[in-house]
Symmetry: C2
Subunit: 539 residues, 2 copies
């Protein structure tokens, strides 16, 4: 019997991907060589004008209207997104499988229906590989798992029942626990705005694809967002991303090395090109009453709110450990000024021991010291990547715990959560309670490859399970965002982050911020974002 | 330095109790010797007519009305309940501390307020010792912990802020994981209807006290209901008991050997003398928005429902493992007949592998094989009681697990929960979906001492986290509830339970049933109980 090496196994997965891409019809024309720093100009160059229009100018809401009114067929739209996704793959390496035949067949079927089958009738949707898909394999970026079957996935099923067309599956990083997107199967996915930067992770393929407008809405896959996996890619790629409170939408279906661990909860969440598409995603899912199938979910329909009195907003200028880069600070200044001008109250947010929060949450990510997450790597013999080592081996509080030590850490977690709740409630002592926090999504714009080594700006809100929405604000500006050469870092992590920055290195990168609300205030966070964007002069 | 034996330490706790009871003024007259089988006739014998009237004839709602209208002072009411609690102690041994001076002082203060301080203004409330109380010690029935301080308790604080008077603390069993009430500090608490039977546990002192009407409403303490700790005592003592979905009301404050374990969640819940008092309890607590202090809670106010179309009720005649005793079957027959006569649809409930559910939930109770629960016992040297051995050592699936085995069990749990959700949803295939299940609370009426060795009728709904309310139906009837001598048990547990029964042994015992709804359907379960009791000709 021939022994299969990990390299041979990985080649099989790439062959499957390449075979799926070979079906693109007509094939893409030749790409520029070398590829440009930013991939944003490529679609206009390589797609037909009609394909470009359909994939560039509309969000999911607008497309669904056209589909409903039959001014557009699902087949035409799906073919356009299939070709744009193929182009995204050529440009930034974000695809694990293009579903050419299946997607077109599904689209044709939907076009043949006399009535829409549901609220997503005819809309092409991308899904992270890690999330699994009925009838397809699911390796979650582990070489060892290549060829394994996908499990059941109620979230996929809900969206399918609502009429969507699945057309592409996308990449994730090794262990799914990087804020970047690199693995030994497909290599590195890069940022569509600047290929020297990361698209983020774990939903890196999705981030890059939506950032390339190869998808109007893509789903964050396995592991969901447990440390920033929706938000970092959304932020890095300049799109919207929403991490709801855990247990509002089903998580089942993703392939997990640590299934059953429930001390910090992951959640799925959408990455989209518009704010309204987030509402559509949440409403579509919750209208199906997923709690009837997944009894771990909270029973609460999606009930959009409107802000009727001026918001009180707190700005988290820094988490007290690592100072954000100049473009992030400028983004906060601009948004704060717009909110003030619109009559909102704007105050400073006092972070409450975020360093401790990282100790707790990193410990809870790997209560077995990382054994389960590393086991499939060891099994296949694929190399352990540096960012895998970083998160499983180099964090002081990641260690193998016995049951009682583990419970002790859960008690610490609960104490911290309660302290943070009191901290937030205390803001009411000087007038109105803070409605939402505006904060950096990450300590800078999209990081250079292999440098996304500071999670706490995102993981903070996983530990607390606070709903958070990411929205694009601006781009790195070579003139406005100069490096503060006089700044003296206050600790090693701060120094590392400070030294990474120069406006040149981050050229063209989107800059995003997060809006954070108290636990279960998902609809309020979305309403606050609307008010904030109105204040910014947006729709 | 003198070494304190466990016996000396236990004596200290009893001395504290006895000193607190010595303040009763005027002292109780002499009790009958020997004490009668049922304690129900004692209050009339030993209390003044006014005390008897106040403590016997009204529920919390009626008393609060009188307090609000100032036709009754809190001091008079509190003195009456204090004396009745002292009597309950003499009769059934349910008190760990009578708060004579503090309660009267608090009552006087409330009487002096020009306006009610809150919805519970002036109402005396009892609390399980295990639950802790600010400024008091808290041993949770472990000798080792005698003299330790209570922690913070937001639930207590909420009720206090709502105007209640705390006046008595009550007993629980060793480890709090018995469905009886016996420990090495105070000995055994017995059933107020028949002293040969258990009052149940873990909230045994509370059950006995409310069953003696020494309290109109008492709170289930530590551990809350994780296996039947509210429901077994309520059922055994003939009062109402409600186990809400976990995370609707705060649990913090109880003293726990296994704090931080969150694989099966406990919840507090009220034991009361009327159905409406449960609503009052839930509304009072949730009106305080406890999720602002305890961010682990679900954000949902108490929103009572009304049943407007006839219910579809499923009767669980047996769990498929242990056949309930004749009085329980008769109770179900009577309630089913009343519901049918009232126009409801009544069908049979098909239990879905409840034996497996017990394997899972018992394993999750003690993923460390019981080490943490036994540690304080070993520390003090107090004897391990037989029912402690039963639950920690004699259950096949209670074992010490490593982290990965533990996560594996959590995956089994989630799979079982999902299967049960599908099972319930499937009832809609033949018409309307089942609204609620009516089932035995326990496999018989209050068990003889040391025989409460079958948990699954209650623990089933902890594993599934389904809200459940216990209501009294009837009493064991010497003529109607004959033993079925022809019955051939189907397994060892069934045989054990069958052999326990004779109508004589259970003379005078209340018989109760449970109404169970799907997860988060707390308000619906309460509305269904109202409809069911109306069908039974009750108010």
């Amino acid at each position: 019997m021939a022994i299969t090496t990990w390299q041979e196994k990985a080649q099989k997965a790439r062959n499957l991907r390449d075979a799926s891409l070979s079906k693109v019809d007509p094939p893409l024309g030749p790409l520029p060589d070398p590829l440009p720093l930013s991939s944003q100009g490529l679609p206009k160059l390589l797609l037909t004008p009609r394909e470009y229009e359909l994939t560039q100018n509309y969000d999911a809401i607008a497309l669904l209207k056209m589909l409903r009114e039959k001014t557009l067929t699902s087949e035409e739209l799906t073919r356009a997104f299939l070709r744009r996704a193929a182009l995204a793959q050529a440009a930034v390496n974000c695809v694990t499988e293009l579903m050419w035949n299946e997607a077109i067949e599904r689209a044709k079927y939907l076009d043949s229906c006399p009535e829409p089958v549901g609220p997503l009738h005819g809309l092409p949707i991308s899904v992270k590989e890690h999330h699994g898909m009925t009838g397809k394999t699911n390796h979650a970026s582990y070489v060892a798992w290549i060829g394994e079957d996908s499990g059941l996935n109620p979230l996929n099923d809900s969206l399918y029942n609502a009429g969507c067309v699945y057309y592409v599956r996308t990449t994730g990083p090794q262990t799914l626990m990087h804020l970047e997107c690199n693995n030994n199967i497909y290599g590195r996915t890069v940022n569509p705005w600047n290929r020297n930067l990361t698209c983020g992770g774990s939903s890196g393929g999705e981030g890059a694809l939506v950032g390339m407008r190869g998808s109007v809405w893509y789903l964050q896959g396995l592991g969901g967002d447990i440390g920033g996996s929706v938000r970092a890619p959304a932020s890095n790629c300049g799109v919207y991303g929403f991490k709801p409170t855990a247990k509002r939408i089903p998580l089942k279906g993703m392939k997990a090395a640590m299934a059953g661990k429930d001390s910090v909860l992951a959640t799925f969440g959408p990455l989209t090109v518009s704010r309204d598409t987030i509402h559509l995603f949440m409403k579509t899912l919750l209208d199906e009453e997923p709690w009837r199938l997944d009894p771990s979910l909270t029973v609460k329909p999606w009930t959009p709110e409107k802000i009727t009195t001026p918001l009180k907003i707190a700005i988290e200028w820094s988490d007290g450990v690592v100072k954000p880069h100049p473009p992030v600070i400028r983004a906060m200044q601009e948004v704060a000024a717009a909110c003030k001008a619109a009559g909102m109250e704007v105050v400073d947010w006092e972070p409450l021991d975020h360093a401790k929060a990282w100790d707790i949450v990193s410990g809870l990510y790997f209560p077995d010291g990382g054994e389960a997450a590393l086991a499939p790597i060891i099994e296949s013999g694929e190399p352990i990547l540096p960012l895998t080592k970083f998160i499983t081996e180099e964090q002081p509080n990641v260690k193998k715990r016995d049951m009682h030590q583990y419970w002790g850490l859960c008690v610490e977690r609960d104490g911290y959560r309660e302290a943070y709740a009191r901290h937030w409630s205390k803001t009411a002592e000087t007038g109105k309670e803070v409605d939402v926090i505006i904060c950096p999504t990450t300590p800078g714009a999209a990081p250079l490859h292999e440098t996304a080594r500071y999670w706490p700006y995102t993981s903070q809100w996983n530990l607390l399970d606070y709903p958070t929405v990411v929205f694009p604000v601006t781009f790195v500006d070579q003139e406005k965002d100069l490096k503060d050469e006089s700044y003296v870092p206050t600790n090693e992590q701060d120094k590392y982050n400070h030294e990474l920055y120069s406006p040149e290195a981050y050229a063209g990168a989107p800059v995003s911020l997060s809006v954070v609300g108290r636990r279960y205030m998902d609809e309020k966070v979305m309403a606050a974002l609307e008010a904030i964007e109105h204040a910014m002069g947006r729709e």
